[in-house]
């Protein structure tokens, strides 16, 4: 799942293939036979990762919001960086380890197994901004931003959706006018997750009002401390007072032209490569983590109802199907990783998986309430692995392209049905 609450979506899917840097990550396959073997080097890497995680995963609970959450997520990212685990598949020149996608997958598997925290404040920086800057950025942009993202020094947010442009992202109206060597931005963005905790924003603005709607957009790096930016907090449905979203207002906000990523007015193309990435490999760790979540539920259900009841009750039947579907998500993840490792761009299977996974997450979160029973009415103050995540799961089929938009994309791009 994307940590971003941004509900924007492109209508295009993956029209430009994977980011160019993904080529560097491709494994050299030792064998082309279908297999699930990991090489001795991979297994050594796994053991090393497991040991490090065992010793370093934070024992304290992740604060649910605000400054405590920001400090926690940044500190955990820095700890991973210092241990050499922050950018397993990032190129070495940007501070990563330059290892292949297989190693990245192994890291995510061990990360899930260790119950390491889901530091979602860093998702936009690590999985949107960084791959975009790697692909489209200038040397200066790369050298400044990539190490800061990887080391856990900064948090990023996403400025895509607008009050009147959610699913119809391409119609966005937040205006930017060139004035000397700056852009001057006026307008508003909405559903911006954690804008109040972010240092930087990936911002889509309209830089040409005459061109066709997809030809007049630019992708800009916005410093959230620039004068003229104001935030309106938007509380979300997970718990009373939970400030997660923001509406962001821009009043003559001056952004250096050197912060435009990719060519001026080519921001749609730039943004689509980022969304394509999110729908491909970026959510791998989440996909793997859900196998662990399902097993926790099976364990809880066994304790509550007894092992034999699970083989007969309706709840056992649902859990069995969820086990099978989580296994299938892992199989889909492996299949996508195999394709990427073989140098093939993520294709239709990535959009099919994303659409399936977002709905599966909701089914898994929903059954938790039936396993818990009446006590599900209680909202624990701390240590709440089930109730808030359940309520939060309603965003899974909205964020980063609603299920309906996903089905349009599948229908049109994968199956070739007319618009």
């Amino acid at each position: 799942m994307s940590a971003s609450g941004d509900m924007s979506s492109g209508y295009s899917f993956n029209i430009h293939g994977p980011p160019a840097w993904a080529d560097n990550f491709c494994d050299c396959l030792e064998t082309s036979l279908m297999n699930l073997d990991f090489s001795p080097e991979d297994e050594a890497f796994r053991a090393e990762a497991r040991d490090w995680l065992h010793d370093n995963v934070p024992r304290e609970e992740r604060p649910p919001s605000d400054d405590g959450m920001r400090a926690f997520d940044l500190a955990w990212q820095k700890l991973q960086y210092d241990g050499g685990w922050a950018g397993v598949s990032w190129p070495e020149e940007y501070g990563g380890r330059g290892l292949g996608l297989t190693r990245q997958l192994i890291w995510y598997e061990e990360y899930a197994r260790a119950g390491a925290p889901n530091a979602e404040l860093l998702f936009v920086g690590c999985n949107h901004a960084a791959p975009t800057i790697m692909t489209w950025g200038t040397d200066e942009q790369k050298q400044y931003h990539l190490p800061r993202i990887l080391k856990g020094e900064v948090a990023w947010c996403q400025g895509f959706s607008e009050p009147n442009n959610g699913s119809d992202l391409g119609g966005l109206r937040c205006r930017a006018v060139v004035d000397g060597d700056h852009l001057v931005v006026n307008g508003s963005k909405i559903w911006t997750s954690s804008a109040h905790l972010a240092d930087w924003q990936e911002l889509l603005v309209r830089t040409d009002t005459v061109a066709p709607k997809h030809k007049g957009i630019s992708w800009v790096i916005c410093d959230m401390n620039t004068p003229g930016i104001e935030l309106r907090p938007i509380l979300i449905m997970t718990a009373p007072g939970h400030h997660h979203f923001n509406q962001v207002f821009y009043n003559n906000v001056r952004i250096p032209l050197s912060n435009v990523v990719g060519p001026l007015n080519e921001g749609w193309k730039v943004a689509m490569s980022t969304l394509g990435f999110e729908r491909g490999t970026a959510s791998m760790s989440e996909q793997i983590r859900y196998n662990v979540v399902v097993e926790k539920l099976v364990e809880m259900a066994r304790e509550r109802f007894g092992a034999s009841a699970l083989e007969h009750d309706e709840i056992g039947a649902r859990l069995a199907q969820l086990r099978a579907e989580s296994a299938a998500v892992r199989a889909m993840t492996y299949s996508i990783a195999s394709r990427a490792a073989g140098g093939q761009p993520p294709g239709s299977e990535a959009s099919l998986m994303r659409a399936f996974f977002s709905q599966l997450q909701q089914r898994i979160r929903r059954i938790a309430l039936d396993v818990i029973g009446e006590d599900a009415l209680e909202l624990p103050d701390t240590n709440d692995p089930w109730i808030r995540p359940y309520l939060r799961s309603y965003s899974n089929t909205i964020a980063a392209g609603t299920s309906e938009i996903q089905r349009n994309i599948i229908g049109e791009r994968v199956l070739g049905l007319p618009r």
């Binding site: 279908m34 699930l36 073997d37 297989t102 490792a341 073989g342 089905r407 229908g411 199956l415």
Partner: protein, 340 residues
Amino acid sequence: MHLLPTNEQVQIVDTVAAFLSNLAPVERLRPDKHGQIGNPDASLWPQLGELGFLGLGLAEDDGGIGLGAVEEALVFREYGRNLVSTEIFGITLGAHLAAESNLNTASEIVAGNIRVGIANPRGAITSENGLSASFHLMEAGEAELIVVLTPDGPHLLPASAFEDGEDCPGMDSHNLLHRATLRNARPLSSAASSNAHRSRALLLSAAYASGLSKAALDMAVDYAKMREQFGKVIGSFQAVKHKCADMAIAAEVASCQVDFASVVVAENRPDALYHATAAKLVAVDAALKNGATNIQVHGAIGFTAETDAHVYLKRAHTIDVLGGDLRKTRASMMGQAAPA
């Protein structure tokens, strides 16, 4: 770790797909005006045998090709797409059982010279002094041998062990059905490694069901691109487009888990049974849902016997019950430990 088929595997799939589209197109199942019972695929077996497809997973000493579960699953997906007679389960599983028990019949089975039906239990089985239960025999009219699909795995028996055979019209009218009984019958095959056979049976059912789900998807999408209402093709309406997208998702989920499980089974890993069980759960679910949605996308014509929409749904129900339906398979899933 690698989950894409090799060039050689793609070739195998292409060859069997071409063979089936020539000699076993789905249109062969269109009923004539008198209706049709049974599946006209017996003539395929010697030809498939000669091409080596019936013995893909058997050792060369047993008359096979010496490949494994991955290739078998890939080919069973094509059998599902073309609704090849369920006797293919009898032949494939029966050959493995015969080979493992050193019965001389293995090489004759994979040559397509011995007919092997299947038997699926109706209710409980007792196995104290041999197997005793009531069964549905499938495609067993001329069978010499029968593979009994129990929840614990398949067993091979002579057809003569079955008593009280009686004709029984089938809902899946292309799948010849009889009722029959076993009383204290001893299987020909030993049950030394029944978990391996059980995993293979689950995997091949899943692969077949995955093929059904893909074929139903393809049929629905083709129709949605062609049929016009309100001056537009119906596939441009989201109500229909989104149904097709859901079918595509279900088919992809099934296909990926079948691939994954086929490797786990081929490598004889400890979690083979778990992943084969998972494969059956997602693949039969996909075949049933896509079979139903395909009929709905077609509208009234989908409800007739003049299109093939109904045959995918009916065959999905047949595959569902083989060796235990979704309800029983889910119970079995909850009785297993999750892989480490």
